[in-house]
Symmetry: C2
Subunit: 423 residues, 2 copies
């Protein structure tokens, strides 16, 4: 068994995990008190944590433990294990707001940085893998738009009083180390020479260099970074890419909100849509003579379009349903005619659309030239082909980021994506 | 002596104050341990607190005590006395950053919501009263631009790391009740029917009503309110009008930062410049056959122009001096050419200028139709004359608020103000 630190923290191996579960009533209960012959499998394929699937004869669960450094780098990159606290908080809050799309938390142990939560059974797989395999999910746009609309609306000043809001903002200010990781890998490293940056070399050498000398782009990125650091608009997931979503044909579950904090809504929406666009651009690299992937590409574009449009519709519906609530951004006494309400909503949603495009594009860029790449591209073995897919995505992202304010509808974005795909 | 509440709080009268001072070493020391025959005078002419000037034979000080309601309204409008804690924090932080323009704090007692601080001796008077009297202060623009540049720059992400920043933001989130007061009286009440709204009636009845039906204005005000509630740009004073500044010909002291929190910088700059503009528009109401006030009006306009221009210059100088510091908004590795730095600074300062105009205009409007008016206008006895001054200020403010994004320089603002003055 691992040594216990002063603060009560110890990294659990499988044996220690069994002892821990046996000693924890909330976890025992989920396993129906049947604790003999548990099957335990470590599956943490992310960049940061240990994740154990625990299956017994009468139940199952997942144990996620944060360790005090970035797992994919090692002890040389320390990272607070307090992130587990914020992950548990966000899972509970988002789960309360959208229970159908967030796994239930059974147990949280702050000293151990350990969360016990629902095991998302097969055939649940990571959405990113599904997209790479060319699988379509008929309810995906419905579910993801619902998740984003509910979690973002109900934690914004459209629903919160400013008292509730500032209290929650203060609590999540504590998740600063994870915010700093995002600041570095999304808004800084791709635009400078940085130790862990990499790209499909030599093909993209010039493209990577071009980012570092693109003044217009860097000015826009600074704006986005300021918004990320300063604007407490809603409780965002903070890392809502397609690897943070598990899916089956009828279930969509959002996991891993350890980057959660009060930030700009567009960061979540953009992360998700931007990763769908990356999935789109990667498809040509997965085409073969049996499957040209054209149908899957069309489906991904439809997903992008439907997700935004459904999000827009659901978000505005929530707004209208709560127009006389305690939300303090737009008091009913002041924004008191249907015409004015429409004007205000149009402006709000257009600003949010532009923010989402900016953040989405920044997330695309960092996945091509930064530290952490996406399997959508990495799994394309032919480097020349991969680079060609990546370059289209990169060029598309640069256009979206720089020119985002000229777009009004998601249809226009689909056209831009298609234009870059045909290049 | 007043009854002591469970939390140790009791409102001090003069007698109790003497006992308190005798029992408090830091205060005794300021009075040179000469505690007999103290002269005590209550001078709280603001809306919220008790303020005692204490003068002994060997020293002096001021005692400010917050009470748990809005003094000018009474116990029917409760207001946390914790505001004294945030006032003391802000006085210390802003005092550290700009010691020449912030009075020293000798003692803070959280349970008693009591601050002991430097007495700003005569001839110090409230700037607003000086402006009404037609007095000119040769160093005012120099001092106020210095105060704003230093307090805002050093508490922003241009100087802070994001770790420092989020920690400080979280602390000041606790000052939510005072923020809510601002939200109500600045961004809400003037645009709806509200209990304590008043204006020079019947002259301005139509003007007040026009605010409540001006959709363009209300949309812009919503934007400013969101920025106020969501954007943690710097530690702002939060109530930087000309009644929060005490002056002599060679001293400028900023007092009363009980509304301090991490908010948009433009709120402070706008509050100050907006109140100078109010002072300008009020001058015609103070003119008489001996003094047409034209020279004083020109001086106030010069103050507005110089304050912004000096602020701009000092703020950018601080930025350049700290370009290789630990501020994280614009990393030196990325914003690495003089040309790019210039572009970035130009954009930042232009955005800040527009924010300042918007907030300044909102502060002007609320002083004419909201709960708390300014002595600049209130001291004009002839109601018709007063209303005429107020209307010009109001119309000017509406233009500045709605059209702020088309202005680039403070000269243009001076022209707008002059145009409305000639109406």
């Amino acid at each position: 068994m691992a040594a216990v630190a002063d603060d009560g923290f110890r990294v659990l191996d499988e044996e220690a995990l069994v002892e821990y579960i046996k000693a924890t009533p909330a976890l025992r209960a989920q396993l129906g008190e049947q604790l003999d012959g548990l099957t335990i499998k470590e599956v943490g394929d992310g960049n940061l944590n240990f994740v154990f699937i625990v299956i017994g004869s009468a139940g199952s669960l997942v144990i996620k433990q944060a360790i005090p450094y970035v797992r994919c780098i090692g002890a040389s990159w320390p990272m607070t294990k307090e992130r587990a606290y914020f992950e548990a908080l966000a899972l509970k809050e988002h789960g309360r707001l959208c229970p159908n799309n967030v796994p239930e938390v059974y147990h949280f142990d702050r000293a151990m940085s350990l969360i016990g939560m629902r095991y998302l059974k097969p055939p649940h797989i990571i959405l990113r893998k599904g997209l790479i395999s060319g699988i379509e999910y008929p309810l995906l746009a419905q579910h993801m738009s619902e998740y984003m609309a509910r979690t973002l609306f109900f934690t914004s000043l459209l629903y919160h009083s400013t008292s509730e809001h500032r209290q929650a903002v203060a609590e999540f200010c504590g998740n600063v180390e994870l915010c700093r990781l995002t600041e570095q890998v999304v808004f800084s490293d791709p635009y400078k020479i940085a130790q862990y940056n990499h790209w499909t070399s030599p093909y993209l050498d010039h493209d990577a260099e071009a980012l570092r000398t693109d003044d217009t782009l860097k000015i826009e990125v600074a704006d986005l970074k300021s918004m990320f650091c300063e604007r407490a608009q809603a409780l965002i997931h903070g890392d809502l890419h397609t690897g943070s979503v598990m899916v089956t044909s009828d279930s969509t579950q959002v996991i891993d909100p350890e980057f959660a904090f009060y930030g700009p809504m567009g960061f979540d929406i953009g992360a998700y849509l931007g990763n769908l666009i990356l999935a789109f651009f990667s498809q040509d690299g997965h085409a073969n003579k049996d499957n040209d992937r054209e149908e899957h590409k069309r489906w991904i574009l439809r997903m992008i379009e439907e997700t935004w449009n459904l999000f827009h519709q659901k978000f505005v519906s929530l707004w209208n349903e709560n127009i006389d609530g305690h939300g303090e951004a737009y008091l009913a006494d002041i924004y008191n005619t249907p015409e004015l309400r429409l004007l205000v909503q149009k402006k709000y949603m257009t600003d949010l659309f532009h923010d989402s495009l900016g953040f989405g594009a920044a997330k695309m860029i960092r996945r091509i030239v930064g530290i952490a790449h996406v399997e959508d591209f990495e799994s394309i073995v032919d480097e020349s082909k991969r680079a060609s897919c990546e370059r289209r995505a990169l060029d598309c992202a640069k256009t979206l980021l720089k020119e985002r304010r000229r777009f009004e509808t998601i249809c226009e974005i689909i056209s831009v994506v298609q234009d870059f795909s045909a290049h």
